[in-house]
Amino acid sequence: MAEVVTLNNPSAKAGTVTKLAAGPKGKKPRPMLSPRNIMIYGALIFAAAYYLLPLYVMVVTSLKGMPEVRLGNIFSPPLEITFEPWVKAWSSACTGLNCDGLSRGFWNSVRITIPSTIVSIAIASINGYALANWRFKGADLFFTILIVGAFIPYQVMIYPIVIVLREMGLYGSLTGLIIVHSIFGMPILTLLFRNYFSSLPEELFKAARVDGAGFWTIYFKIMLPMSLPIFVVAMILQITGIWNDFLLGVVFTRPEYYPMTVQLNNIVNSVQGVKEYNVNMAATILTGAVPLIVYFVSGRLFVRGIAAGAVKG
């Protein structure tokens, strides 16, 4: 099976992207136009087209003026390119009386997302590690409750959590919001880490135990360095979830902490008045930009994960 041979070109150990593409040793990758490549790239490009179509519509719309948007053909490229919707979405779209667009909430979103992501991933990875390697009596029960908790709609939990935070005196503070994000992120993230840590070869863990390493030493020295891909996935989940969160951000904080999505919601969701679709689209792309950049950058880490995988055999 020739395909398999190419497929398994053992380049993984080389580790870096550029070397991957070049092929480190032995057989060279096939010429680009082999039937196999045509199939693979054909399928990928076809899929990419489906994923890109809405983005195309968004970008094109965001570059049109409103009269042109009203003409109705959503697929046609703009006759006259205007960046006004982008400028407006960023700096002058109104949220009630504050007409400074999305820029108003940007730093708040950063302030909320960074600590919430770090705290929630830290807690969840330790949970997962404890569940995978240091199981104690009753751990499964708590974990099962957590998994069922993943299925509870957020809104149902608002009132109970408002009460809990009020009693703790944290209602309306940033700390309170970080706790809330950690709570809602916990089920899926814990599951993610638990499963990942369980799939790591036990011999490593055993060997470390024999060497006398304890809970935290093993976590920091052995588990963390081997878990890059899963941390990337967790980061993607959390950054996206927290950055795009609207409801928790407004329910659990005060206006001075309102995230960017409050402005996005106000721009997109205004109940009355003319809808400015071009501004809506620009605002969405702008709001999505931060997670997008994170995705693109994290790709590198993802590939580093291959190297980690190669080590463990």
Partner: protein, 300 residues
């Protein structure tokens, strides 16, 4: 020999106090928030709480009303259809994409970002864009018709019998990228030696995937399953943005029923009754499975 999670562990000693301390946040969340919050919800579903929770009990009235409401029945049915298709397609498409991405291809970063970017966008606008693309007057239907196929008909959002599939298209667009990413992380965790061995044995690639790699990715599949399934049960924003539950009540879903009755109708009791039914259904399916999966089996 590797990757099998279920082998015995050396740590059944009573020395994992550190582990217990480290798990305090998890224990508190599980018990106080999820268990406590759920019991609180169930408790108040037997009251006629309106805007604020209050203790005036009405027995099973809220449940009787719930199961008599045509909208709730439609919601359940929609969730079933949406759930089954969403689960199958997410897993299949997600895995296929991941497998393609794992062929040491060029531009991997670019492709991954393309598949994943919809996940970064707010549901509010995802719904709007797909509402446009699927709109018969200026979306796909009109484009195909203008190319000459004048009887072409593709109008899911305004046809009650198929509207839920219109939502499915947008949901898959938004969600499969993450599934692909999870699968890819799983594939990257597969040892190169496995591939080498199967190559030496001359096993075809697809067989290696189906019979060797996928079983080894069990943990990843379970994580993915929980993420997809919990997303299905909670589906709400997309429906609101794309169809508002319409035409009529044809694309209503249970989570939307819960929210609408809690906050728009200001009838917490009814909303809690609906969410209790949702939770009960989830619990019946998830608890036994979760306990088998994560529970006792590994002792020893």
């Amino acid at each position: 020999m590797t990757g099998q999670a279920n082998a015995g562990r050396p740590n059944q000693l009573l020395r994992n106090l550190q582990s217990k301390i480290a798990s305090i946040p998890m224990i508190l969340t599980a018990v106080v928030i999820f268990l406590g919050g759920t019991l609180w919800t169930v408790f108040y579903s037997f009251t006629n709480s309106k805007l604020l929770p209050r203790l005036s009990f009405v027995g099973l009235d809220q449940y009787e009303r719930l199961w008599a409401a045509p909208r709730w029945l439609v919601s359940i049915q929609n969730l079933a259809i949406y759930g089954v298709f969403s689960l199958i397609f997410s897993l299949v498409i997600g895995f296929l994409l991941a497998a393609l991405m794992d062929q040491k291809i060029r531009f991997e970063n670019t492709f991954r970002t393309i598949f994943l970017y919809p996940f970064a966008l707010s549901f509010i606008v995802t719904g709007l864009v797909w509402q446009w693309i699927l709109n018969p007057e200026f979306g796909i239907q009109s484009v195909v018709r203008s190319l000459g196929w004048s009887t072409f008909s593709f109008d899911p959002l305004y046809t009650p019998s198929i509207v839920i599939y219109g939502i499915l298209i947008a949901a898959l667009w938004q969600g499969t990228g993450l599934v692909m990413c999870l699968m890819l992380a799983g594939l990257r965790g597969i040892d190169e030696d496995i591939w080498k061995a199967s190559r030496v044995d001359g096993i075809p690639m697809w067989k290696t995937y189906v019979f060797i790699v996928i079983p080894m990715m069990r943990a990843v599949f379970i994580t993915t399953l929980v993420i997809i399934a919990s997303g299905i049960v909670r589906v709400y924003d997309l429906v609101v943005a794309q169809t508002s539950g319409g035409p009529g009540i044809a694309s209503e879903v249970p989570a939307k029923y819960v929210y609408d009755y809690m906050f728009q109708a200001q009838n917490l009791g009814q909303g809690f009754a609906a969410s209790t039914m949702m939770l009960l259904t989830v619990a019946i399916i998830v608890v036994p499975w979760a306990y088998l999966e994560f529970g006792g089996r590994k002792r020893g």
